[in-house]
Assembly symmetry: C2
Homo-oligomer: 207 residues x 2
């Protein structure tokens, strides 16, 4: 059912809000009417935060995590161990691993996984920059921490092959993460344990 709005401003707000994932026009209308009932400051703070978010957030030049400066808070922290790099799919996964409190190394955010079905090839991911980091930095171990899906496995294997001759130890997080589940929806205890129980990537071919 298309709603006929009496106000162009309401129409605009509903249209913009309904572009967000999981928010339909009905929900957007409910949110807009809620905002109209609040103090003007509420809508202004929300609007400002959304605009500043997209304009102010940049990506760390080293690990591609979100940041507000050239180097993110993790890469720039001298207490972190720069010899271990955990390869993750996206920014949210960095947060998930950080929340476990089980990891003291650095990250490398790929920006996705290889998915031919969605037209995502290795060249669209931060894999070249990962290889560059291996060459330039003193990295001893790369932990592959991608989702336990077919795309995650494909990406793991691709990275493994590209890094094989670099002499860096390649591990992957333990498959305590149930097969088919995504990192985003896995609980912290399981995630923490999956880091502790990481195994040599090459071991799975020997058995």
């Amino acid at each position: 059912m298309e709603q006929e709005f009496s106000s162009r401003l309401l129409e605009d707000a509903v249209t913009e809000m309904s572009r967000l994932p999981g928010i339909g026009r009905k929900t957007a209308l409910r949110l807009a009417l809620h905002l109209l009932r609040q103090e003007p400051q509420v809508a202004r703070s929300l609007g400002d935060a959304v605009i500043k978010l997209r304009e102010g957030v940049v990506y760390c030049r080293k690990c591609h995590n979100i940041s507000e400066s050239e180097l993110c808070g993790i890469c720039g922290n001298p207490a972190r161990d720069p010899s271990v790099v955990c390869v993750v799919e996206n920014v949210k996964d960095v947060m998930s691993f950080e929340n476990t409190g089980s990891f003291n190394g650095l990250y490398h955010v790929l920006g996705g996984v290889i998915s031919p079905m969605d037209g995502v090839g290795p060249e669209k991911l931060e894999i070249a920059s990962l290889i560059e980091r291996i060459d330039k930095e003193d990295i001893k171990e790369v932990i592959l921490a991608l989702s336990a899906t077919m795309e995650g496995d494909t990406t793991n294997f691709y990275i493994y092959r590209r890094l094989a001759e670099k002499g860096v130890k390649i591990t992957q997080i333990a498959r305590g993460v149930s097969v088919g589940n995504e990192i985003e929806y896995t609980d912290e205890v399981t995630l923490g344990r999956s880091l502790l129980n990481r195994t040599l990537f090459s071991d799975q071919f020997q058995s």
Copy 2:
């Protein structure tokens, strides 16, 4: 689970978005990360629309519906019948009745219903302004179109008493079995009232 964000801007955006009803911090984070993946224009349009909505939308001085000028599009439309006023709870209800295409009169938006439990008394609603309209305008009929709840009934009765001596006809929208609903799943109070308020079967063919 409190998320630890690496970015103050992300933290702000998530906090502001999670103030919206039905949006928790987890959903807000998902929306924020979605915006970060879009073109900057998407976040700017959304932010602008939200700010302009609250700053630009005013309320019609006559019926209190949302408007962009002193008089809303319905009150200002000379084709509408100003002698019938439909009293509704909120702006969304105006839209719902407009979408039926069955009403050609004007509205009066109360801004809520009397609810002592929530501390909403008659003085917090647009009831005084309704009485003023009855006194000043040439209104022949007031249709009470509030929700069929205890609060709606209380408000209906309060308005009825306040308007009793004004000589205006006061009606209320029909209460009965909703179109499409089965008798089996309709509550007894509604069924009882639908019997009392039964209409001539042949009446439906005359309109």
